[in-house]
């Protein structure tokens, strides 16, 4: 038992933090927001120069063969910059293919997803229809569906790969409040899907990758809200003193930190639980997703309040965090749902 980063993990964290800080700048993110919510330049550098796209994917498919702790480290660093990147997409789609795709699917798609050559997305529901040959139905709120090249689509007992441009597939993208991660509707009208070899492991892999990634992203975002607020509080002067010296202000910052430190424990507990195959892995993932997204939302809201008028402007980055936080709260099931899963584990189903 040693619940602290190894030297290697600390190095990855430092590398990732400086990479996203230098590349996923507010300027680039805002350029992406004005178009399709995808900061291609940063993504290309991330996949190719940093080479950390396939963090949990085995080396034989072009991945780094590392664990979920490292995945969380990367997502946390990206979240701190509200980077407009399909990192979540990559994590879920590649994890699903690696866990349950056919050998041919793995060979074909994993190296290309990891290198950034193609963008993946994953979506699942229980309403899509499959008649043995064709898929019919739709998937709503698919993150970065607007820039996706291959979709990993799932219903409760199978998953398929469908390529962009497949006959009968259409993608509609509405204006999304969080412009760093547009949400699309994927419509299937007699679309041919290429089935997975092994569905169940893919589904488990998708849950851990998705919830962990979102939780870690939220943690990074929340910490950034606090850091930026504290910095501002030392510079801004009112009533002849730095606003950070007012106790009401300090206490609110302290409350942010108290939540953030718990969120940090949640993320790395869940990451270790997945890597170590612990009994409490489900509990850990639900806890991490629910707790971290609430923490991020609280911190992002407080960030606006503690900046005053400037925090309400389009120009200031506070709204990027606030909107991302809101989107993480509902993406891949909300906090109430995750807590209800926990409640069911300890209390049984409600009568």
């Amino acid at each position: 038992m040693d619940f602290s980063f190894t030297d290697e993990q600390r190095m990855i964290a430092e590398t990732a933090q400086s990479f996203f800080a230098e590349n996923a700048t507010s300027k680039r993110t805002r350029e992406a927001m004005a178009t399709d919510g995808f900061d291609r330049e940063t993504w290309q550098s991330f996949c190719q120069e940093l080479g950390l796209g396939g963090i949990i994917i085995p080396e034989e498919y072009g991945g780094a063969g590392l664990g979920n702790v490292e995945l969380a480290i990367i997502a946390e660093a990206a979240g701190a910059q509200v980077a407009a990147l399909p990192l979540l997409n990559l994590a879920i789609s590649s994890a699903m293919i690696a866990a349950g795709g056919t050998e041919a699917q793995k060979q074909k798609w994993l190296p290309r997803l990891i290198s950034g050559e193609v963008i993946g997305a994953a979506a699942g529901n229980d309403t899509v229809k499959y008649d043995g040959h064709k898929l019919n139905g739709s998937f709503e709120f698919v993150p970065h569906g607007n820039v996706t090249d291959i979709f990993v689509l799932a219903h409760p007992d199978q998953a398929w790969i469908v390529e962009k441009g497949a006959p009968g597939l259409s993608v509609e993208t509405a204006t999304t409040m969080d412009q760093t991660r547009p949400l699309s509707t994927v419509i299937l009208d007699n679309v041919e899907g290429e089935p997975f070899a092994d569905f169940l492991p893919a589904m488990h892999a998708s849950q851990s990758a998705a919830w962990l990634c979102l939780a870690a992203e939220a943690l990074g975002g929340a910490q950034a809200c606090l850091d930026r607020t504290v910095e501002y509080s030392k510079e801004r002067v009112q009533f002849g003193r730095a606003i950070g010296s007012f106790q009401a202000y300090k206490h609110r910052a302290a409350d942010m930190m108290i939540e953030i430190e718990q969120a940090r424990s949640a993320v790395y507990w869940a990451a270790c639980a997945v890597d170590e195959g612990s009994d409490d892995v489900k509990l850990a993932l639900h806890a991490a997703k629910a707790f971290c997204s609430d923490t991020f939302f609280k911190c992002a809201g407080d960030m606006i309040q503690l900046h005053g008028g400037i925090g309400f402007t389009w120009e200031h980055d506070a709204h990027l965090f606030f909107k991302r936080a809101r989107s993480i709260q509902t993406l891949l099931l909300d906090g109430n749902w995750h807590r209800e899963q926990v409640a069911t584990m300890i209390l049984g189903e409600a009568a």
Partner: protein, 392 residues
């Protein structure tokens, strides 16, 4: 980063669990599950001695002072199994968790020999004389005076809220030893035997009917010249070092106690049907999640061996658990409903959950109130500007 324990550590866990459950099923079954700090104090002193006799008292201490030199993981495991077995809290927890480590870190060899084995053996029960009527959160404004006279320290003044003073053998105090000083300067950290005419103890009844804390009066009370830790005038440094020990391994044992409390709430909710209420389900899930996050927060804090800088995360721990537990007390009452507000016990002696509800109001006060914790977090961990003092 790794959370799992090794095979050897799991074996150690089984050994701890075996011994502890054996004791609670056998010779010490009469103290199993006691939740308050004071009930059956005499029997619990015997339990301290039993622990020591089997070298389970202070396993993290070096072997020469009655410990086992146990690893961090082993201490974690023991603390968890201790509470899981329903063993009541240590009556000498102040000796074991505060006085002992303080003597170990700042004491002379003489003092280590004199005190450590007896603390470990449950023969010297310590209490903490820091707070005074006019020095609570603002601890540095203590007024109790100490002067050296005829080869002895002579102490005059009053302490308050002294937990367990009535069952203790020794008290450590901070007192002003330099005339005319103010604040943290001029304080001395002294250890004093309680059984002497100059020390008078009066119990204070608490909101739960128990009287765990006391007023402690010093009227020409004395202790030997070498009963101080550190040098005269260094008391503040020692006191602050001591308070840092409160964030040690024992927090994990404390959490297992919380586990038992939450389990009691879960059982009550299932029994009376409130487990079907969606809001109660959310709150129980939140409490469950919070409990796990506390455990992993403590493991992070303990795994952090870089003591060169302030561990900001560790500063968040006290308010985290205190607030969690206070909410747990409220949740317990909400689960019980009005049934929680009555008892057929004529002595105002409450069951676990109503007592938790009442007692947990103090968790956010002692050991630094929630407000003081937030000040510390903001100023020490986040580096925000300090509050100006009113009197300087």
């Amino acid at each position: 980063m790794k959370l799992g324990f090794s095979k050897a550590e799991e074996d150690f866990r089984a050994e701890c669990a075996d011994w502890l459950t054996g004791q609670m099923a056998g010779e010490f079954s009469d103290i199993k599950g006691i939740a308050t700090l004071t009930a059956k104090a005499e029997r619990r002193k015997e339990w301290e001695q039993q622990l020591a006799a089997h070298k389970w008292s202070c396993i993290g201490w070096p072997t020469e002072w009655g410990g086992r030199g146990a690893s961090l993981a082993e201490q974690v495991i023991f603390a968890e199994e201790y509470a899981r077995a329903g063993v009541p809290g240590r009556v000498n927890h102040i000796g074991i968790e505060l006085a002992g480590p303080t003597i170990l870190t700042f004491g002379t060899d003489e003092q280590k020999k004199r005190f450590l084995p007896d603390i470990a053996a449950g023969k010297t029960i310590f209490c903490q004389g820091f707070s005074e009527p006019n020095a609570g959160s603002d601890l540095a404004s203590v007024r109790t005076k100490a002067r050296l006279e005829g080869g002895k320290w002579v102490v005059n003044g009053q302490k308050i809220w002294t937990s367990l003073a009535h069952i203790s053998d020794w008290i450590f105090v901070i007192a002003r030893s330099e005339e005319g000083t103010k604040g943290p300067k001029g304080l001395t950290f002294l250890m004093m035997p309680i059984d002497q005419p100059g020390i008078e103890i009066r119990g204070i009844k608490q909101i739960n009917g128990d009287a765990e804390f006391n007023e402690t009066f010093f009227t020409d009370a004395t202790c030997a010249e070498d009963s101080l830790i550190g040098a005269p005038g260094e008391g503040w440094r020692i006191a602050m070092g001591l308070l840092a020990f409160e964030r040690g391994v024992s927090t994990l044992g404390q959490q297992m106690g919380f586990r038992n409390e939450l389990d009691e709430i879960i059982a009550a909710a299932k029994a009376n049907g409130s487990a079907n209420d969606p809001l109660i389900r959310q709150r129980i899930a939140k409490a469950e999640i919070g409990l796990h996050l506390m455990r992993y927060g403590a493991l992070r804090m303990l795994s952090n061996t870089d003591h060169s800088k302030v561990d900001g995360a560790a500063l968040t721990y006290k308010i985290q658990w205190a607030s969690w537990r206070r909410s747990l007390g409220e949740l317990g009452m909400d689960v019980l409903g009005q049934a929680g507000e009555v008892t057929d016990n004529p002595d105002y002696d409450w069951g676990t959950l109503p007592n938790l509800f009442l007692y947990s109001r103090s968790d956010t006060i002692y050991g630094g109130t929630n407000q003081i914790q937030r000040n510390l977090i903001a100023e020490r961990a986040l580096g925000m500007p300090r509050e100006p003092r009113g009197d300087t």
